[in-house]
Symmetry: D2
Subunit: 287 residues, 4 copies
Amino acid sequence: MKYENTAVLLMSCDDKDGIVADVTALLARLGANIVYLDQHTDRDNKKFFMRVEWDLENFSIALNDFKTIFTYESAKKFNMSWELYESANRQKMAIFVSKYAHCFFDIISRWKIKEFEVDIPLIISNHEDLQKEAQRFDIPYFYIPISKENYEEQTQKQMELLQKYEIDFIVLARYMQIISPKMISIYKNRIINIHHSFLPGFPGAKPYHQAFERGVKIIGATGHYVTQELDAGPIIEQDIQRVNHKYSVDDLIAAGRDIERRVLARAVGAHIQRKILTDKNRTVVFS
Amino acid sequence: MKYENTAVLLMSCDDKDGIVADVTALLARLGANIVYLDQHTDRDNKKFFMRVEWDLENFSIALNDFKTIFTYESAKKFNMSWELYESANRQKMAIFVSKYAHCFFDIISRWKIKEFEVDIPLIISNHEDLQKEAQRFDIPYFYIPISKENYEEQTQKQMELLQKYEIDFIVLARYMQIISPKMISIYKNRIINIHHSFLPGFPGAKPYHQAFERGVKIIGATGHYVTQELDAGPIIEQDIQRVNHKYSVDDLIAAGRDIERRVLARAVGAHIQRKILTDKNRTVVFS
Amino acid sequence: MKYENTAVLLMSCDDKDGIVADVTALLARLGANIVYLDQHTDRDNKKFFMRVEWDLENFSIALNDFKTIFTYESAKKFNMSWELYESANRQKMAIFVSKYAHCFFDIISRWKIKEFEVDIPLIISNHEDLQKEAQRFDIPYFYIPISKENYEEQTQKQMELLQKYEIDFIVLARYMQIISPKMISIYKNRIINIHHSFLPGFPGAKPYHQAFERGVKIIGATGHYVTQELDAGPIIEQDIQRVNHKYSVDDLIAAGRDIERRVLARAVGAHIQRKILTDKNRTVVFS
Amino acid sequence: MKYENTAVLLMSCDDKDGIVADVTALLARLGANIVYLDQHTDRDNKKFFMRVEWDLENFSIALNDFKTIFTYESAKKFNMSWELYESANRQKMAIFVSKYAHCFFDIISRWKIKEFEVDIPLIISNHEDLQKEAQRFDIPYFYIPISKENYEEQTQKQMELLQKYEIDFIVLARYMQIISPKMISIYKNRIINIHHSFLPGFPGAKPYHQAFERGVKIIGATGHYVTQELDAGPIIEQDIQRVNHKYSVDDLIAAGRDIERRVLARAVGAHIQRKILTDKNRTVVFS
């Protein structure tokens, strides 16, 4: 459920007794009306994760003051990593595309119907193909072709645009170019990619061809945060579809489009709603 | 995850601020190592539900004393309905069958491999068909044929057996007879039935024939608690399978067996692990 | 798989021995390179259904001549109902919408990426809400508000537009008005509706509210041909999504949008590719 | 659908025009009442596959004579590989197990309810654990422990048992030992294994631990024919289940049991009904 005017607190730390009691008691003392609480304990690795969301309407203090209090009352005690967000602060999302339009259209349509409550200040592409489609929706489209020769210079251009437009996070909607290490480092856990296979099966190029050759009976797609290692970042969401011997490679590609669309959409949706915590190479995605 | 020696506390009440803080603080004061905590707030109906499970090994007080303390510290304050269980107390499960063996075999095999940690003191049937199969597993089998004429007398016999064997809950593994109102009333939310359709579609008799006639493209099964109204009790679990025009009624029945097996197994598993709370005609099934 | 320049023959008749041999032998004699053949025998009702598609490039005779030959060689012999289509003939699809945009955007984007190879000469709506969105894609949008008072007159206007633009089939993309009996009769098995529940569960209005009240664990959507009886026409496609107690009515509606999108898209895709035969109130949907 | 007294003809050859017409015409001339016909053309590799099943009750000639006629009329003409089976001939199935009982129980229960119409002359195991369970069902159980030292000798014993009991095909129901190359060669495409991951992801040992480490959101299982290369044989069936961060390794293992059960059951069922053709490392599994 989406709430209008709330604060979201994401925490993680080593597991100890009493964390939930501590945090919820603090919020109760400050008059927070909690609208969402979920926590997870990874018993194998003794790690604790929590997401709390509360209504700001009757909250007794300013969020900046809350940060101070929370730091001293709870965060230091449990040696927490934590982030605090206001749902009212719309995030700025950049979309990177190449030639395929299906994920692009899907994201745009979710934005138009306000399923994704973000701003989309720009689209960046290494091809001109989708320029006209971007124009239909009045979104600035920057064509930045990339080759081995101009890679440094062009990825630098990308970085400048992201900075200029104050981009919060990036969606790679079937963008077929390697993201620069610098961008990955600056946008850690803030670049979402859709890989067109059920990872770790068929990483790399042409996964549907690989799936056809291997004769699998189910194909899939994977939404993940981008890390330096290709197709190996923390998985946010996956989904699949049953196929059979009748599917040619083209049929797999067509069926795959639908999986890619919905997997990417769910991953982006979870990110927008601050539902995701990462731990090493794994994610906690609160429901 | 299943734990060896834990207490499970299930609570529900009208939603108010501070319930989680209150309960977790009490448990923290008493030295409980919480291994599971999940809660749910139904905002439309302003109801709160919670399940907490903690390790009893280092718990500072006896469970009976905890009950007293919890009653005065939390339950009365929030006007809670609550139940407390010890995971070490094995429940006694009765199985009712008729002629179909697939759900019976599935439950028995999950019990044999200790997925279901319960005792099965008896099987009750209105047919003799599965007597030999019950004997293979050394489970007493009571053949209680039921007709319109002997209904009162025979359901009374059933009740006596359930009492004699101190049965905690009942699984209707494709048992094709109406359960007596008295038994339903005594075993409220403790009789689990598997209905062989995706309710509310196709209630009543011959759902696969109905599904064939209607030409549906997906069939399903529903595990639910039994109430006086036929096939209308609180739904615990549902699952489905895709079918197509090639499926004859017999094919639907065969495909349905697999759905029935796993839906019933999941519903029974959730019940055994005290994961289910009911509210009016709906369930909260904690994961 | 989609083919460039093919003929599609759809047949149904009472089941008899030798139909496949008869039809395939005729096509072989005429030099047809068959690229698709699937058939289905409904043994319960003794009905036969078949879909054959062949390459027209090296086909020895004109399709009109084939019709004559097929009529005398096969169709009369087996008393067949049959239809013949050329894949090169693009169909004209009308879209009816009301206020919800998600199915509209999904269909348009599939059309833009050439997944749906049809023409869309017009959009008809009883609301003005999506006019601007239609304009983005340069599709004529006819706003025809409908009330009890003007129903006859306005549905007559709809019919005139359909005739004027020579519409082959109609997609109701969450169009929230009763289609006129006359239109249903003229466009028999050519009006595709998406109902936002897993039929036959929750027909009629507000199915997600009904689903919430009943506490189902899975929700669905149904794509079907429109008949006079509401939500009771031949089912083309269904799909579902697992939900749980955490889903409010709004969450169900949001999750449902994704199911509606893909179910309607698959139903429309099957219709465009001439994959559907109807028999009484059931469909044969070839894969 | 299963038929009582039928013949099943499985064919594959290079794709040419007129194969369906040729075979169906021959069967029509001989008075065959075809109850099942499905064919598949792999256009990329130009290969043709077909499965035809017909009622033997009124078939005009003996099956042996049919073989002769078919060889000369059709098989030679198209250079076919083909197999002919009588559904009335019950196959003899050996089950190999180690310590896990869930797949074992599942297969046995499907055999008891006549979903699998085969004989099970023996069970072979490298452990004693399931001996008592086999006895419950009166199936001979051969305990053949295997170590590096006795591998040759013990796999030879296995081969002798298979020969003595005239085993047609083998089901590895979570059998945790390498099958001998000789057995693989003799029982080519007749040894069915269940691998507890969604291949090609996580081959080899401890796939659930690998899945946990990688943080996948879906786990799966794969039923495949055994070849010399480990976990790389032709895939018959796969299925999956959605998981999330709450799943410990033990939870993945428990959830996986259900997937393994149904995937293995479907693979075995397809094999029993002669629905599978293999081509290089891929399968055609007719529905």
